[in-house]
Symmetry: D2
Subunit: 319 residues, 4 copies
C-alpha cells in the first residue's frame, strides 16, 4: 500500500495494558511494523501475533525507533541503553517527564520540538486531559491566579496497571468508587504544573484529586476554573474551537458535554464547558475526556512517533 518501506518499531514492556495497546495500534499502522516486543515474566507468550522476548534478548538493532511502556523506575535504564545505541525513543513512563533531556510529547503544543527529538517523554494520562483543557485558557490569561484550579479526575482501572493487586480485583472494584492520592499527593501533579507553566504561563495553585472508576478504560476530568473575566458557554466554546481548529485529535463540543463513550478506543480528547451560575465571581467548568490507554498513553505515543518520523500525524490512529 505504501511504496516506502515500513518502519520497524521496538516495543518495550508489551505485556501490560499500555504495551498491548501499542501492539494493537501498531498492528493497524500503515507505515510501521513491530520489530520486537519485550516482556519479562510473560516472555515466550504471544500477543497479537508477536512473541514476547526478554528485553535483554531483543534484536534492538532491527528497530528504527523504540517505544517503552516499561514501569516507572525500570524504563529509564532501557531508554538510556536505547539512546546509547543511537535509537530514537518515546518513553511512556514517568521517568523523563521532568527531565531537560527529553521533549515533553504533548503533541498539540510541543509539535515543533518533536521532529528532531531523540527522546520524547510521553505525558501521563491525567496531565494530558488537564493540559489540553487548561492551556488554551491559561495562554490568554483567563485563569484567575488568586483562586485555586480544582481538578477532579476519574479513571478506569487499566490506568492502574495489570499487575495483580487485591484492590484491583473485580470483586473489589465492581460497584465501588473511591478517591485516592488526595490532598495533592499524586505523582502527576508536578508534571502538570510544569507544563501548565511552560505552555500556558500559569503558576497559580492546582488541587488535583484522582478517583478510581469501575470501568476498564477512560478518564473524565471535571475542571473548575476561576476566571479573570466572565466567559459565557458559547464564547468559551468558541475560544476552544479557535485554538484547536486544525487539530485532528481534539473534539470541542458545542452545547454538549463529553462522556467516556465519546472517546474510548479513540486518540481523542473531547472538551465541553459550562459557565457557572449563582456565584459571585466568574467561573467556568470544563469537562475533558480521553481514553487513558490511547490519547492518554499508547495513541499519543504513536502520534508523537509519527511526528518524529515525518509520517502523517494520525497514521494508524482513529481520532
Amino acid at each position: 500500500m505504501n511504496n516506502h518501506a515500513s518502519i520497524p518499531v521496538g516495543v518495550l514492556g508489551a505485556s501490560g495494558y499500555v504495551g498491548q495497546e501499542l501492539l494493537r495500534l501498531l498492528h493497524g499502522h500503515p507505515d510501521a511494523t513491530v520489530a520486537f516486543a519485550t516482556a519479562e515474566s510473560a516472555a515466550g507468550e504471544w500477543v497479537d501475533g508477536h512473541e514476547l522476548t526478554k528485553a535483554d534478548d531483543a534484536p534492538w538493532q532491527q528497530a528504527e525507533i523504540i517505544l517503552s511502556a516499561l514501569p516507572h523506575g525500570v524504563s529509564a535504564r532501557y531508554v538510556n541503553e536505547a539512546r546509547a545505541g543511537g535509537k530514537r525513543t518515546v518513553d511512556l513512563s514517568a521517568d523523563f517527564r521532568l527531565s531537560p533531556d527529553a521533549v515533553y510529547g504533548l503533541t498539540e503544543f510541543t509539535r515543533p520540538r518533536l521532529a528532531d527529538a531523540e527522546l520524547v517523554a510521553n505525558p501521563g494520562c491525567y496531565p494530558t486531559a488537564a493540559l489540553l483543557a487548561l492551556i488554551p485558557l491559561a495562554q490568554l490569561g483567563l485563569i484567575d491566579p488568586s483562586r485555586e484550579v480544582i481538578i477532579d479526575a476519574a479513571s478506569g482501572v487499566t490506568g492502574a496497571g495489570r499487575n495483580p493487586k487485591r484492590e484491583l480485583l473485580f470483586g473489589e472494584v465492581a460497584e465501588d468508587y473511591r478517591a485516592y492520592a488526595i490532598g495533592n499527593t499524586h505523582r502527576h501533579l508536578a508534571e502538570l504544573k510544569q507544563s501548565l507553566s511552560r505552555e500556558g504561563g500559569f503558576t497559580g495553585d492546582l488541587v488535583f484529586t484522582p478517583h478510581l472508576l469501575p470501568v476498564k478504560r477512560g478518564i473524565l476530568e471535571t475542571i473548575h476554573v476561576p476566571l479573570t473575566r466572565v466567559l459565557d458557554q458559547s464564547t468559551a466554546e468558541g475560544l476552544y474551537s479557535a485554538t484547536y481548529d486544525a487539530e485532528p485529535c481534539v473534539q470541542v463540543m458545542h452545547g454538549a458535554l463529553p462522556s467516556l463513550k465519546d472517546v474510548v478506543y479513540r486518540n481523542r480528547v473531547a472538551i465541553g464547558v459550562a459557565e457557572v451560575a449563582d456565584v459571585r465571581r466568574p467561573r467556568l467548568t470544563v469537562i475533558a475526556a480521553i481514553d487513558n490507554l490511547v490519547k492518554g498513553a499508547a495513541g499519543q505515543a504513536i502520534q508523537n512517533m509519527n511526528v518524529m518520523l515525518g509520517l502523517p500525524e494520525t497514521a494508524g490512529l482513529a481520532c
Copy 2:
C-alpha cells in the same frame, strides 16, 4: 417480640427504587408494618409480600404515618391529602424541602424539631452527604467565605429513578461516566444552600457538579473546602469525631477514605479528610459517601419516622 402494637405505615409510590427500599426496610423493622403500598401503572403487582394498590384506592385510614416516595410534583397533592386527613407524613420528594410548612429531616441536625413534626421533608440524596460533611466545619467558622466550596458528586443510577429512559439503559451506562447538570443548574443546590446557611451559618458560594456512575447504588462526594485557618488531617478528623461522637449513623474515618463499599445497604454516611499540600492557602478535601437509597432516601426517612414516633432512632436500620 414487642409488647406494644406494631405501627401501621402507608407507603406511597412503592414501585420505584426508593419505594422498594422503603418496603425492604419496613419489612425488617421491629416496630412497624406496611399498612398499604401504592403504585399506579404497577398496581396489582406484588412486591415483598405486598400487593400494590392505586393511591386513590388505598386504605389511608389504616395507616398511622405516611411515607411518600412519589415523584416530585406528584407527591405534594397526596401529601396534602394526608395532612388534611390528619396523618403525619414524611415526604421523600423535593416538594416540601424549601417550604416553611415542613421540618427538614436531616436527622443529625434537626432531630429536636422532628418529634412533634406533622410533615417532614426528607433531604435529597446529594445534600444529605454534602451537609453532613460541611455543617461541622461551617458551624466553627472554618470555611473561608471568600473562596468557593467545590462539590463534585458521583451517584449510582438508581438515583435517576426506575422509569425507562434510553440514557439509563445498561448499554448506555456500562463502561461510561459523565457529568450532568453542570454549572450549578441542579435542583438540589437550593436545598443545600438553605440548610448550610440555617444549620451552619455559611452563605458563601458553592459549585455543585453531579456525575453519573456505572454502579447501582451509592454516592461519593469530593468536597473541596477553602479554610480560614490550617487544619491538619488529624485535627480535622478529631473535629468530625467530636461533632458526631454520639451519632449512630455517621462514621468518621481516621487515616482512611470512604468508598462506596463502606456504605451501601447501610444507613450511614462515612466521612474522611485530607489536608491539601502544595497550595498557598489552607484547604481541606473532604470525602463523604452514602447509599443514595438508604441514608440518601428510604433509610433516612425511616430514621426520621422513628424519631417522630418515639421509637429507637435506628430501629430497622443497619447503620
Copy 3:
C-alpha cells in the same frame, strides 16, 4: 486511496445499536460510503457524521445497495420497496430468514449464492455462532441424532435493542444474570434448525436456551454435542482447523477456550472445544464466541455486502 469510485450504501434503521455499528464500520470501509441513514423518532440527529432522515424521505436512488437494520416486522415493507426499486439488499431483521426469496447470509457456508443474490437475509446473532460451531460436525455425521444437542447461549444487552425498557435499565441488569425464552421458545430456533439441516444435514433435536449477560457486547455459546464416535480435543480442533483453514473470520483455538474479549469489536467467531470426561457415551463441548453487533449483525452484513459486490470479503472489517 482507491481508483474506483466508492459504493454508496443506504442504511435503514441507523439509530439502534446495530444501525450505529453499520455506520461505524462503513465509516472505515475503504470502498463504500454512506449514501443515507434513516431513523424515525431520531430523524434529524447526527450520528458519526451522518444526519438521520426519515425512511420515506431518504434519497433511495442514490444508494447502490441497501442494508436494513429496521426492527422485525417493519423491515419487510421497506426491503420490498427497495427490491421493487431494483436495489440489492441485505436485511438484518428476521423477516426473510425463513423465506425462499432470500439467500441466507452465513457467509462461510453460503458464499457461492451471495454473489448474485438480490436479497440476503443476514443471520441472527445466536444462530451465527451456533451454526459455525455445529455445521462442521454435522457435515461429517459426527452428531448423534438420538440425543439432543444442548445450546446454552449468553448475550450482552445490546442484543436486546436500544428501545427503553425497564428490564434493560442499568439498575436492573448490572450484577444480574438470567435465562429467558427457555423451553425452546426463542424465535431464533427455527432459523437455526433450518440451516443446520440445509448446510449440515442434521435433523435431530436441539434445546436452545438464551441468557442475558451484564455486558454490553458479545455472545458466548456453550454447546453440548453428543457424538457418534469418540473425538479427543486435538482431533476435534484439527477437524475445525481443516474446515476453516482458509476462512479469515473464523478463529479455531488450540488448547484454549474463547472468551468475549477475544471477539468483541471484531468480525470473528472464535471456537474452542473439549472432550467430556467421566461419561459413558462420547461427547464434545464446543464454545463459540462472537460480537453480537459485528459477526452477529453489522459485520457479517458488510461481509455479505462485500461478497455481493465483488469487493475483498473483509474490506472494512477487523477479523
Copy 4:
C-alpha cells in the same frame, strides 16, 4: 434479647470473601458471637469489629463451635486440630466433602444427621444449587438415566476467592464472560455425583460446565433434565412445591424464572422450571439460583450450625 447466653463461634480464614461473609452474618445473629477470627497475612487487621489473629495464636478454647473458611488443603489440618480439641466444626472447604468422617451439610436433605454431627462438610456452591434442583426429580425416578443431565453454571467472581490473580482483575473480567474447567474437569463434580446418588438414587451421567460471570455475587445454573415421562411446567412446579413446602430457604417460582437479584444477600435457593417444546423425548429445563457466598457458603454453614446447636434454623439469616 435472649435469656440464654450467646454461643461463641471461632472463625478460621476470616479475610477471604467467605470468611468476611461469615463475620457479617454472625454479627447479625441473635444467639451467636464471634469468639475469634483468624487470618495469616492479614493478621492484625480489623474486619467488622474483630481483630484478625493468626490461627496458631487464636484462643480456641473460648469457642464452642468452629467454622472454617480456610482454603482447600489447608483447612483439614486445622479442622483436625479442632476435632482433637473436642470442638464441633463446620468445614466450608472441600477437604471433608467426600469423607465418611463428616456429615454432608446440605441442610434440606441431611438435617436429621446434623443435630449430633461433630464435623459437618459444608457443600460447595455449585453442588448446592444443582442438588436442590435435581434431588426432588431424582427421588421420584423422573430423570432418564439413559441420557445425560447437562448443567451449565455461571458464577460471580467472589467464588474464585480473594487472592490477587491477573485473570480476576477488573480489567480482565469486566465486559467478559467465559467457561472454565470444561469437559467435566471441575472438582465439584465428584461431590455432586456422590450426593445425587445418595439422596436421590440417581447414578446416570452428568455434564457440568462452570462459567465466570462479570458480577460480584451469585450463581445461576441452567439444568437440562431428560425425563422418563412428560411433566408440564405446572406439574413440575407443583412437585417442587410439595417437596419444599416447609422449607424456609427454598423459593419455588410459579410461572417465572429466578435471576440473581432474587437471591443475592439471601440464604435462599430459587428454582424455576420450563418444559421443553419441539423435542421428541420429554425434557425439563430447571433454573436454580443462589448467592454463592450465602446459601452457597457462609449462610448454609450458619444454617447447619443452627441445626447442630438446636437454634432456630434461620437464626441470623435472611432467607
